[in-house]
Amino acid sequence: MIEPQSARILDDAELVHQAKEGSVEAFGELVNRHDRKIFRLTQHITRNREDAEDALQETFLKAYSRLSQFAENSQFYTWLVRIAVNESLMKLRKRKGDASVSLDDPMETEEGFVPREIGDWGNNPEQQYAQQELHEILDRAVHSLPAPFRTVFILRDMEQLSTEETAEALNLSVSAVKSRLLRARLQLREKLNRHFQRGKLSC
């Protein structure tokens, strides 16, 4: 059993350094610190529980075996996210039996995205739902996005990576990240509109 260190709170960089020097506890603490966010990420990308669990485990095993290659002047968490995204996409491709699932831009037929439903949500529209129900609404909305938009949205607005970190993690240009994020956000807004529009009951 790997238990977190309790003496004082070390930042990721210090823990990585200790782990590289042979500390099992330090690596265990890095896992404990990030496992739930990585699991959320693998769940949202794969949209499959079993694949998400496998991708989670693979991510940390790979991070462990590649630790010596990790450049200590970069962000451990961003590096971890990059591994997790790759593991998740591999699972997604396998599951779909389709090597074409990629982060390439989906075909765009329209010039841009035109919002169809616009309605006022009032303040704190999410509070009309119980937490479990809200989570389900949000999960369903994210899962309905095409993979290239979904991954950008997860990294930017759920994992809260910067635009540059997201671009780096996904091997995309900053402008590609920005344009996908705009479309992802607008599509999600549209999907949530029917749940949150003022005066409307959920359906």
């Binding site: 099992v24 949500w121 949000l138 607005d157 920005k178 705009l182 807004r189």
Partner: protein
């Protein structure tokens, strides 16, 4: 005056504070006078806030143990700091 589609194209950058001062001013003028764009802006902002406000669940007990066990095995096989 910016058009509604120009505003839409910059909405995400505006929310992320990634626009020039000049563009910001143009956007804010439009949003003040265009109720449709304002609601779109406001509901998109709320969409982001709602997602940002959700915390990931802790790992289910069984999964947590499975992960720790897999790591423990790997570390035994291949102790850290050996490569």
């Amino acid at each position: 005056m910016l058009t509604c589609s120009e505003v839409l194209a910059e909405l995400s950058n505006y929310l992320d504070n990634e626009v020039s001062a000049e563009l910001r001013q143009g956007l804010e003028e439009h949003l003040k006078d265009c109720p449709n764009c304002w609601v779109l802006f406001d509901t998109t902002r709320k969409t982001i806030q709602i997602f940002r406000g959700t915390e990931p669940y802790p790992l289910p007990e069984g999964l947590h143990d499975k992960l720790q066990e897999a790591l423990r095995k790997r570390m035994e096989q291949d102790p850290p700091g050996q490569n």
